[in-house]
Amino acid sequence: MVMLRNTRTRWGALSQFLHWLMAALIGVQIGLGLAGANLPLGMSKLATLARHKSLGLTILALALIRLTWRALNPTPALPGALKAYERRLALATHVALYTLLIALPVTGWIMSSARGFPVSWFNLVQLPNLVRPDPALYHAMVLTHIVLASTLGLILILHVAAAIRHHFVLHDEVLRRMLPGPRRIHPGVMDDRH
């Protein structure tokens, strides 16, 4: 049976869906951002950046939905075998991920506003400008956006590497409980529904 909500041992269907949807969107988003930054000024640059902005807003909304859902649900516990520093690292990585998934779209949105290019969501809704045109702020935001995006890249590598380590080295449930499929209770953790 598909569980929508999280339990103490497993991510529910909604959390899983949001996780993998965002993983895919973030992959596309990084590609669009790199392409948009490197294209010469032309119609394809406008189109690429327009899609990058629309997708960024989508990711922002999804990140907020995820945080809300996370607050309303139990969070699966980390495997009991983890050392204290590993727990701290896991927490820091996840805090950083959520922070970046909010900060990146917001800095991008400020960038566009400061440059005098209003943002729309897929040509459907025009968003308000967050700031007035301001070249100095624009340049500061470009730098911030690049630094944050690079940080996100590094943290994603760490995140994926940790998932691989949990699955193939530690042989625990950390990756499996983010995947659909039959429940397999880790021997060290009790399911709170029992």
Partner: protein, 192 residues
């Protein structure tokens, strides 16, 4: 003579005086622009969002009595609020301001409407001349012995009619064809 009669006489006298003054005022004054209090902006849609810019230098002459309206825009005064965008829109593919430094509109017909006027005439932009219709409102007040007028309105033109957008910029999926031109002009009578 009663007070009412006196009042009637005064009213009649005032009315006649006003009519005479109005008649003497014909032909009316030609109005010219108070540039510091006037704006000429354009808006087009870029990827679903409004992209706004302005022209800072232009002249307008308007004579409501004679029915003449002439607008000359210095295309080099294009101000998009962004250096790169100024270069792009002022460059060959868009306004090509080096070759076409002026845009010009002359009303050949000025019709009175319920709220103001409808001016019809040729607009020359980027070397292409097409007839456009420009509705506007017109209000006048007296200030310091001068007639002050405000001329406000907007019209929509299609940029591709004038070749604004060459080559790849002809596509309208990400850069709309419709451009709204808005003007809010403060004008003063030349006669003073």
């Amino acid at each position: 003579m009663t007070a009412t009669d006196t009042l009637r006489r005064i009213t009649l006298w005032l009315t006649l005086s006003a009519c005479t003054a109005a008649y003497a005022g014909t032909p009316g004054p030609t109005y010219t622009l108070v540039a510091a209090r006037s704006s000429l902006t354009y808006t087009f849609e870029q990827a679903g969002a409004a992209n706004v810019g302005r022209f800072n230098t232009f002249t307008v002459r308007f004579d409501p009595t004679a029915g003449t309206l002439m607008v000359v825009i210095d295309m080099r005064s294009l101000d998009t609020g962004d250096g790169q965008r100024n270069d792009l829109l002022g460059g060959h593919d868009f306004f090509d301001v080096a070759r076409y430094p002026q845009a010009r509109f002359t009303a050949t017909r000025l019709q009175k409407t319920a709220t103001g006027y409808l001016a019809t005439g040729p607009l020359t932009l980027r070397g292409v001349t097409r007839t456009v219709e420009v509705p506007f409102t017109w209000r006048t007040t007296q200030r310091g012995g001068r007639a002050i007028g405000t001329l406000d309105g907007a019209t929509v033109i299609r940029r591709l009619d004038f070749g604004v957008g060459q080559g790849q910029w002809r596509a309208t999926e990400w850069l709309g064809n419709a451009v709204t031109v808005r003007f809010a002009l403060d004008m003063t009578s030349a006669a003073g």
